[in-house]
Symmetry: C2
Subunit: 391 residues, 2 copies
DNA sequence: CAGCATTTGTTCGTTTCCGCGACTAATGCG
DNA sequence: CGCATTAGTCGCGGAAACGAACAAATGCTG
């Protein structure tokens, strides 16, 4: 759309082929042609270009049992990848994730106290250097960082990450300086939504809302028209602070009666007994406990969640709502209960055909989302992969 | 983006030229080249094509006092236009609006009772036929209809327009059948937002929220990334049903404590005295009355509005909020009051740099929005204007 | 197993459309 | 009145996609 020359057509076609492979997996050149609507000769030329750039590998023709000449296989290169970095209160995860969304390497470092940004930058860059990605044949395009908090996406400034106790920390700039790689920092829920869109419960859905409930609170992200809705500076999607009651309970930014103030994992956990529990155990423990106390608490939580979701449905008219973390457990406990509560709060036409489902992706969700964020510029302009820049 | 051939480049370039003229007004061919970044010869060819299609008029070169050869002027054709139809409880407005957003003809018919859909269709098609648009040299591309209610945009089915007491009315299909013209039906606030985006307080702003307060309630629309956010079926933007209090007051769809239940023009009007008042009189009457009763009511209304806007800011991270109708009066009464109340409810980073302004466009706002919605397909594919179809 | 239909790869000519350069035209300025 | 500046016009070249013609590789059928 920018210049309007024929090279843009080429770029768009290269991107279309790459995207087809990313969502559809490896396939034959003929399939690629059908999927992208391009001509045989065009596809051949495009694939040849991409192979030359090292982004895909052309394989020998394989017969698949049908008549006709077998078509060459085309596979995403297993060497093109990006780093994913995910700092949490108790650990830092660094991974190498390929263009095919496979997690190739993964290192987790536990902290005994909340890390500072400088510590995270230092540790992450050390780990990335130690991984020897280039020596192992990976061609790294950049670094994607998933941060539990508000991030100014343009420069990766972490505005406020309450759980990490970070405020106005220049994470993007620091990490870029330490590694000399392009760095993309974003909110964790947003990156999770991207991963769900491409490989999870959001596949093929162009309007959906993702809401994740964790120990630290509730985060969300919006996909509209197939694109992540970031807003003016990337702060969009903060559904946790939506008002759901007139109570005085405040969330961690001081907003009273908000979703995050009323719906907490902590409260449910206290009813179940143990002080700590990993997400899977929490889910099964909650679903197993049908006591009155738990049922009442779940009902109240569902009611509050439904009010927030009602706003979401009325304002955004999504076709699907993805619930992650303990919000998925809340749904599973009584799916119809949540739906009924929501229907009382949403405009009937907007509510029609809205799916409420659990998010699909598990542990690697954020790593895939973060890495793919870093791979995005390459996918949008494959020709930029010229010299396999290894600096 | 679809096929990936060189004809797409042509189409995009034609669109770019047309859009430049729409937002920038008539200009010289040289300016057009600078604005669109295209080459001199390319612009000449594009303009020549558009002139051949009858979409622009090429004028004689005019000297503007600067050195160098004068450039040809290019003006949007004054004959290309669309119908705008706007049914309200007490009147039906039909207009002819040009590509240049000028309202060329306007007919308003008053009702003595709430009209049915069939009556509106019948009257609108009669009026449009009587206007003799084709005979007057207009080339009409379609009909845009602004409806105060929920509209399924794909086929123009009015799902629920409470004030008109319409439910499940096939307005789009009926009007298309009666007129044999392409019909585009949409929510009035959405069309107003489009007009504000192109010609009003939303110019050059790619993320904004438009909220309009009228006698019938509160409607809204969202522009994200420069595009109207319609959601899955076009129902998005319903900000009036956002929860703002724990009270039991319900709005017209039964949602308690919603913005529309708590913030009403009616309530303010009752404090000012008269039973009926046109918007302009209401605005000046409200701003003139600094009594304690009014001040307290305004403060309460502002507080509730701020809660809804807080949700909007947190979820959408807009760069501007446009207030229309009596919500603009509410803002003007005490701009700082609203802003302060909002800042208590919004995440500080998301709130940074958010403008809160009044909508700019007046009476013709919806007519321009509706007609331009009908002109959009033409702008997106100028070459489709082949035979100046007059059926 | 030999021919045939089917499907795909390959090559090459055609078409479209943009940019560029050379030349011409029209203006203001000194 | 010449010169600099700016824009229109025309022709050429390059990029890229498509389609046609041909070759290659497979399954199917008699």
């Amino acid at each position: 759309m920018r210049k309007g020359t024929s090279e843009d057509v080429r770029r768009e076609n290269l991107t279309a082929v790459l995207r087809a492979l990313m969502v559809g997996g490896d396939m034959s050149r003929a399939d690629l042609g059908r999927l992208t609507g391009r001509n045989r000769s065009t596809v051949a030329s495009l694939v040849s270009d991409l192979a030359g750039l090292g982004l895909v590998d052309e394989q020998d023709p394989v017969t698949d049992g049908t008549v006709g000449r077998p078509s060459h296989g085309v596979a995403l290169s297993s060497s093109v990848a990006a780093f994913a970095v995910h700092p949490e209160v108790d650990a830092l995860t660094v991974a190498i994730v390929g263009l095919d969304a496979q997690v190739r390497r993964k290192v987790r470092h536990e902290f005994d106290r909340i890390p500072t940004m400088a510590e995270v930058v230092h540790l992450a860059s050390t780990v990335m250097a130690a991984m020897g990605a280039e020596e192992s044949g990976f061609r790294m395009t950049g670094i994607g960082v998933a941060v539990p908090g508000l991030v100014r996406t343009v420069d990766g400034l972490v505005r406020n990450a309450p759980h990490l106790q970070w405020r106005e920390e220049p994470l993007g700039a620091s990490l870029a300086e330490a590694t000399s790689l392009p760095v993309h920092v974003a909110n964790d829920a947003q990156l999770g939504a991207l991963a769900e869109r491409d490989y999870g419960a959001g596949r093929g859905v162009s309007h959906f809302v993702y809401i994740n409930g964790g120990a630290s609170g509730i985060g969300g992200a919006i996909v509209a028209g197939g694109d992540l809705l970031g807003g003016a500076h990337g702060y969009a999607g903060e559904l946790g602070h939506t008002p759901v009651s007139g109570s005085d309970r405040v969330d961690n930014v001081g907003i009273p009666g908000s979703l995050e103030a009323e719906v907490t994992r902590e409260e449910l956990l206290s009813l179940l007994g143990p002080d700590h529990m990993d997400p899977e155990s929490f889910d099964s423990a909650l679903l197993a406990d049908r006591s009155d106390a738990v049922a009442a608490a779940v009902a109240r939580h569902q009611r509050h969640l439904a009010i927030a979701l009602g706003t979401v449905v009325n304002v955004l008219n999504p076709e699907r709502i993805l619930l992650g973390g303990f919000l998925a457990s809340l749904l599973a406990y009584n799916p119809q209960g949540l739906r009924t509560a929501l229907e009382a709060r949403a405009l009937a036409p907007a509510m029609e055909g809205v799916d409420i489902v659990s998010a699909q992706l598990g542990a690697n969700l954020l790593l895939v989302g973060a890495a793919h964020r870093a791979l995005e510029p390459l996918v949008d302009d494959p020709a930029s992969m010229s010299g396999a820049r290894t600096d």
